[in-house]
């Protein structure tokens, strides 16, 4: 046996080199739910609103579910139907989870998401009782590919009082569309199934 082979087998035995270097997609089975998320806080514009093109001021570490609670009332309307809010809570959670697994670095700041519509609108401590209930109710579940792979659940505003079929074609949830279907008696799983095809509801590991 050559010296090189001995060296490699020793390195594998010591755990210095992984014997299988194949890329494994992050799934709900091999990935822990994030405990916290890094939110880049962008500069406000002169009117005092967070500016999607503003400079990054600092990166705030927020507990994961607190982040979801502080996003939902700013993305969905808290007065909307509870099933629409649950569908929104699931989309916000899976969007954040995906970006937690794929952090980025801009201007020397490494973060998962920012506080503007570049990612999801986040206002610290803006959570509301009704939206908190929606986040709590979907807490044990994840909406992923059938093999468990965690993917980004995208959404856009959409058109009010309309099923928003064109958003289903684009595989994005329409926020107004989720309210449309909830008012017509669909539950949050049916709303998610309408907008995102070939996905599965999975239980999150405790």
């Amino acid at each position: 046996m050559s010296k090189f082979r001995v060296f490699v087998s020793a390195a594998v035995a010591l755990g210095l080199i992984s014997p299988t270097a194949a890329y494994a997609a992050p799934t709900v089975d091999n990935t822990q739910e994030p405990a916290s998320i890094r939110v880049a806080i962008r500069e406000n514009n002169p009117n005092g609103e967070p500016d999607p093109r503003g400079r990054i001021v600092w990166v705030q570490s927020v507990p994961f579910y607190q982040y979801c609670e502080d996003v939902l009332p700013n993305e969905w309307m808290p007065s909307w139907h509870s099933e629409s809010l649950k569908a929104g809570a699931m989309a916000i959670k899976m969007f954040a989870w995906y970006h937690h697994l794929h952090p980025i670095t801009i201007d020397g700041f490494t973060f998962d998401v920012d506080n503007t519509t570049n990612f999801q609108t986040f206002r610290y401590l803006s959570r509301q009782p009704d939206t908190n209930r929606a986040v709590t109710s979907i807490r044990r579940y994840a909406y992923v590919k059938p093999n468990g792979e965690i993917i980004e659940l995208n959404y856009r505003a959409g058109i009010p009082n309309d099923p928003n079929w064109q958003y289903r074609n684009a595989q994005k949830m329409a926020q107004w569309g989720s309210q449309y279907w909830a008012q017509r008696g669909r539950n949050y799983i049916q709303i998610l199934q309408f907008y995102y095809q070939q996905r599965a509801l999975r239980q999150v590991r405790a």
Binding site: G48, P73, W76, S79, S126, Q128, P129, Q175
Partner: protein, 204 residues
């Protein structure tokens, strides 16, 4: 007497044929008359619920209300501030925070900005509160969102006055507009000949 008996059906026949011609020539009017516009339609402004058209003209008609509570915290330490006085500017209600920094739940009016009412219905009401506490800067919190029949919470940050503070003035925090309403607003007035960024689109 006999000619009169024949006259009536012939007049009726003429009126019916006139109606049919009118319906063919003016289909938009006929359609409007037969299918009333759906409530909550995109272009139709949503009225304040529980208020009839007569009530809306009456300055003494009560506003719809929703439950609200305010959480007052120290802006630096994020710890709750007990004993702060919170004033709801619109109704001059005064409340005091408990040991956890919360005011009791109270009924607050849901007031939508009248500037935009006839053009685009706002999706939520807005309120202003001021928080006072000894040793802290006064905090004004504008644009607190309220919805009819729904509980809402607002967090007010207060900043302690330190020895380095020379010019002591109130602190203002204004809640930004909800992005869904901003999209509604720009789509409402967009011309097809001047699209700007264009209509809301799933492919962007």
């Amino acid at each position: 007497m006999k000619p009169q008996r024949h006259l009536f059906p012939s007049v009726a026949r003429r009126i019916t044929s006139a109606c049919v011609i009118a319906a063919v020539l003016t289909p938009h009017i006929t359609a409007q008359a037969t299918t009333p516009s759906e409530p909550g339609q995109h272009s139709v402004p949503v009225q304040q619920p529980g208020t009839s058209s007569r009530d809306r003209l009456d300055p003494y008609a009560p506003w719809p209300t929703a439950r609200l509570r305010v959480h007052v915290i120290d802006g630096r330490t994020l710890q709750p501030l007990p004993g702060a006085e919170v004033v709801l500017v619109e109704t001059e209600q005064r409340l005091r925070t408990d040991a956890n920094g919360y005011t009791p739940w109270f009924d607050a009016p849901v007031i939508r900005n009248p500037r935009f009412r006839p053009l685009v219905a706002e999706l939520h009401g807005q309120l202003t509160v001021i928080a006072y506490k000894n040793g802290y800067r006064d905090s004004i919190h504008m644009g607190i969102r309220t919805h009819e029949g729904m509980d809402s919470e607002a967090t007010v940050w207060m900043y302690k006055i330190g020895p380095e503070d020379r010019r002591i003035e109130p602190v203002l925090y204004q809640v930004p507009y909800h992005h869904l309403w901003l999209i509604e607003l720009v789509d409402r007035f967009r011309r097809n000949s001047q699209l700007g960024e264009g209509w809301q689109d799933p492919n962007r």
